[in-house]
Amino acid sequence: MKGESFCERTARERARVLLDQGTFRELLDPFARLESPHLPPQGIVPQSDDGVVVARGSIRSKEALVVSVEGGFQGGSIGEVGGAKIAGALEMALRDSARGRPVISVLVLDTAGIRLQEANLGILVLSEIHSAIVELREYVPVVGVIAGKIGCFGGMGIAAALCSLLIGTEIGRLGLNGPEVIEQEAGIAEFDATDRQLIWKIMGCRRRMEIGQIDLLVQDSDSALAETIAEYCEKTWLEPGARVPRTRQIESQLKKISDYPILQRIPEKLSPSARTSVNSRGLLWFQALTENSGVTPEAKSVLAADLQWGGESVRATVVVPNVVARFPRARDGQVGIEEGWEIARLVREAMTADEGKEKRALLAIVDAPGQAFGINEEILGLHQSLAAAVDAYATARRAGHPTVALIVGKAISGAFLAHGLQCGQILAINDEDIEVHVMSEASVARITRRSPEEITSLANLVRATARDIRSFASLGAVDQLVNCDDSHPIDAHCVATVRSKILQAICEIRLFPRDPKMRLDSPASQESRKMSLVVRKALEAEWG
């Protein structure tokens, strides 16, 4: 097979050629019949492996795992089953590696990100995948390969940025928001999704290589890719921590961002973001919980305050609208390029300060209408910025900082993955206006080619695609729904209730540390995330 195109292959063949000859053993193969139960009710033909191939074998005689996503099926999108295969395999590799039986892990990425038809099941499993990569890469090399025509976007773009080594091919692309979604959200003046040259000039792996967002650009051939991966693993074997991961190079990235000349695609006065009034539940809750403890919201989009609640030190962080933000697409409270890195900086600052001491709690107040959709953000690597925040929260959680998310407004997509979903517990105000989703309705309609009416009726059929907080809680993702009779204006009684719930959560986490996959232990998950549990159990049985 020497010299043949790797990118032309199917996901299964790609996994096979990366492993030592004759060692490929697929886990949960097509005959395990673990397909998506959520697609047929939506009129979509499922695939027997749900588009994810998990294989074990060896790389230069060392134990290896290859997880390969099939870009041809539903754009390589990650649904409940496929996602659980990825997360479960990484969790098994982590279990073995932590016990002194290292398993090199390779992710072959050809994926558009979360499967919109399985929406919130996808966002939950993505948080589990992120958590597993951050932990696993401390033991073994976790190699990402961007190898297909779809490229690597969305929550999987964040996963790529978390890998110890990221390899690209000429055909591959990498980013957070796909071109069509940016066009839908921000208009054609911001990004023309039909302009292929523009897309590859910004998101193509060659470009990502030039600006240091991937490590190696490798020729599209089986042997070139297999040898590159094997050599890297041999070199860094059992020393995976030798390099500083790119998601921890915070100061240099913040410098790059401040030096960057912003492209103004839309005249300032027409920009829909240039509003003057700030109506932010995140800001209101932050002010109520911190009793306005000396923060000036002007000219800042990430606010943080250190609080003393009883005997607990708590650092509360929130992303708020900022009408004078440098990046126009992040002025309405979105988590943009500056915000992701700034969250990471604030979390790591607390970690450094608390080294060798009682670890303060980290409270993520969540009200973000999504990540920033813009050309500047994609050029600078928004996926990396969000990955930095993911990495910071996951690392702080593992270091012993109790982490709690409080959803008070919108918790959407990449913004929620970066700021909230890595927390040990998630609390939410039980309120009609709270929204949890992976994408705006307009963009979902465009990408899935359905009418907004169809999407609304599907939400009744497949609860994971509903947007209200109670539906999200039914997935076992919310530890507590806090009832506040009248949450705006926020009254003192309500604030006291929320504060006591947060303290209770912190106390519980101090006794029993939690991570994202433990949400599967909740009673609600047993039914609503049944397949996530079935897949993990079956995978463990076949792992060997």
Partner: protein, 97 residues
């Protein structure tokens, strides 16, 4: 999405192993082939293109006329044309022998 079931009398040639070929991508299909469980070669089809039951029946008849096999087929189809379907079935059979 339409589900179709067909069965044909099992032939004399038995398949040796389970095989999966193809992808559920536009104009393509996935075929899972297994040894027949009984005296019939059963075929289950799930297809995104509804209303082509007769076409499928005729196409499968061509395949089973050509190959005297005993095997079960599961097909997940995303609007593949008849020649593509026939090609995938042949490919699956070839790999199973």
């Amino acid at each position: 999405l339409e589900t179709l079931n067909f069965s044909f009398p099992a032939g004399s040639q038995e398949v040796l192993r389970k095989v999966q070929v193809g992808i559920v991508a536009s104009g393509n299909l996935e075929v899972l082939l297994e040894p027949a469980a009984n005296a019939y070669s059963q075929v289950r089809i799930r297809t995104s293109a509804s209303g082509f039951g007769e076409t499928w029946k005729a196409l499968l008849q061509v395949f089973f006329d050509r190959h005297d096999v005993a095997a079960c087929f599961e097909i997940n189809d995303c609007g593949a044309s008849p020649p593509v379907v026939l090609l995938r079935l042949e490919q699956a059979l070839e790999e199973s022998l």
